[in-house]
């Protein structure tokens, strides 16, 4: 029997924007599940709901109906301690979102001391270990503005890992990076996947998807149109929509 880490059940989300007359159906009855240790890459055209889906997995985006379970704990139940649950679901953003007033090391230390109540000494030790792990052990004292995009993203990944998450979500983590720094960050993500981290990745890096993903999910108009192993998906897409999409990006 498979060990389910994330269970997504009939999730719907509609945006009502003042600037648009018609409501936007961002998630349309999405049902899926991600197993422990599985790496799922979600792709799709912009506006397909992939980011909304990812953000709903740690409650950054509230949903209208349906339910989401992380390792058996409901994210949508009002009785759930959402803050506690969020520590177990790490999120890496397109724009890194490092705390601008803190050094790289402090960025990793702060959530540990504030949320997990770790001692400063312990948090610093963990932070230094993680900086080593993400390949920038010497940059702990630098402020975010002094780091390149790739370096900032490494710090952001380390910051999430410091919480010992069960799941890591990547929301176009390499889209804002200079081309030459993309590879390093993808390599780091690849390493995490190899270590058995459960990951949901929204990305445009098809090379990464092919190598690292256990499963591809293709979304369009708020719904999952197609899912398959990377090889099957890329070599033999089933739906017209996926064929179109792949033709345009490859």
């Amino acid at each position: 029997m498979k060990d389910v880490m994330i269970k997504i059940d009939k999730v719907c989300k509609t945006y009502h924007l003042k600037s648009r007359p018609d409501p936007i159906r961002a998630l349309d009855n999405v049902t899926n599940q991600i197993d422990r240790g599985e790496v799922v890459v979600i792709i799709g055209p912009s506006g397909s709901g992939k980011s909304t889906l990812l953000r709903s997995l740690n409650g950054l985006q509230d949903i209208d109906s349906g339910s989401i379970f992380i390792d058996g704990v409901s994210l949508t139940d009002k009785k759930t301690n959402l803050n506690l649950l969020r520590t177990q679901v790490g999120m890496v953003f397109q724009n890194f979102n490092l705390y601008q007033h803190k050094t790289a090391l402090e960025n990793i230390v702060l959530p540990q001391t504030v949320v997990l109540k770790r001692s400063r000494a312990e948090a610093e030790e963990i932070a230094n270990d993680l900086l080593k792990k993400v390949g920038i052990p010497e940059l702990g004292g630098n402020y975010p503005t002094m780091l390149s995009g790739g370096q900032q993203q490494r710090v952001a990944i380390a910051r999430s890992l410091a919480m010992n998450p069960k799941v890591m979500l990547f929301d176009e983590a390499t889209s804002a990076l200079d081309p030459e720094t993309v590879g390093g960050v993808l390599e780091l993500m690849h390493g995490l996947a190899a270590d058995g981290m459960t990951m949901a990745v929204v990305t445009h890096e098809m090379g990464f998807a092919r190598e690292a993903a256990d499963r591809m999910i293709f979304m369009d108009a708020g719904a999952i149109v197609e899912e398959n192993t990377p090889d099957a998906f890329f070599d033999n897409p089933q739906s017209e929509r996926a064929k179109d999409f792949l033709r345009q990006i490859l």
Binding site: L60, L85, F93, N97, Y99, H101, P111, R159
Partner: protein, 229 residues
């Protein structure tokens, strides 16, 4: 030479008197800045919490205070409120001065603090919430430290405006700097120009360090994320 001796005699005679006025100006403005800032910071934070009714009330408060002249507010608090026959609203002139100036200060501080908080990118909030911080923790450790740095320059301007606004208090008989000067002019009407200039110098002596301090604080704390050591 004689002109200088003459003016020096005026300064020599008036300075303790004007210094007393400066002291009152200093006291009233410091108290108003303290209470006004405390109230303003609190309202500014509340304004950003996205609680609709609260936001409406605060906005109403701001519109009333910022949309009317300070002199009118002072008159209402000193002359109109006591007429309502409510015991605790019967302010003496010093209390009326401090209360009205505090409210006036708070309206500007509220706007400054709220705009600074709104100016912190939403990504900072998301990055805080996504690691499990509560909304309060995100404010305390991530949003406010960044927002407060942005408030330094506008806050100094408001403080200087408040200091200068104390001149209006002369109309309700507060013996602050302008009032003291006017009393002096009654005694020496021939030197009106010189005495007003003297008053201006006294105000400058108080305001200039405030602005200098803000400049210093801005370079010291203002530039987010740059280590100056």
């Amino acid at each position: 030479m004689e002109w200088f001796a003459n003016k020096w005699a005026i300064i020599d005679q008036l300075w303790p008197f004007l210094l007393q006025g400066l002291w009152t100006t200093f006291m009233v403005s410091i108290i108003a800045i303290f209470f006004g800032s405390t109230l303003g910071f609190t309202l500014g934070i509340f304004k950003t919490l996205q609680i609709r009714p609260l936001e409406k009330i605060i906005n109403g408060y701001l519109h009333i205070l910022r949309g009317s002249p300070y002199l009118v507010q002072l008159y209402i608090i000193y002359f109109v409120l006591p007429a309502l026959d409510v015991e605790w609203l019967k302010f003496d002139s010093f209390t009326a001065a401090v209360v009205s100036l505090s409210l006036y200060t708070s309206s500007y501080v509220t706007e400054i603090v709220a705009s600074a908080i709104f100016a912190v990118p939403t990504g900072q909030t998301e990055a805080s919430r996504s690691v499990g911080m509560s909304k309060a923790q995100a404010y305390r450790y991530v949003i406010l430290p960044q927002a407060l740095k942005m408030t330094i320059p506008p806050m100094a301007s408001v403080y200087v405006i408040v200091i200068k606004s104390t001149a209006v208090l002369s109309v309700i008989g507060i013996a602050e700097l302008t009032r003291q000067g006017e009393v002096a002019i009654m005694r020496m009407p021939g030197d009106i120009m010189f005495i007003y200039s003297l008053i201006a110098v006294f105000y400058f002596v108080y305001c200039y360090p405030v602005l200098r301090f803000s400049k210093w604080a801005e370079t010291r704390f203002g530039s987010v994320g740059v280590d100056l050591e």
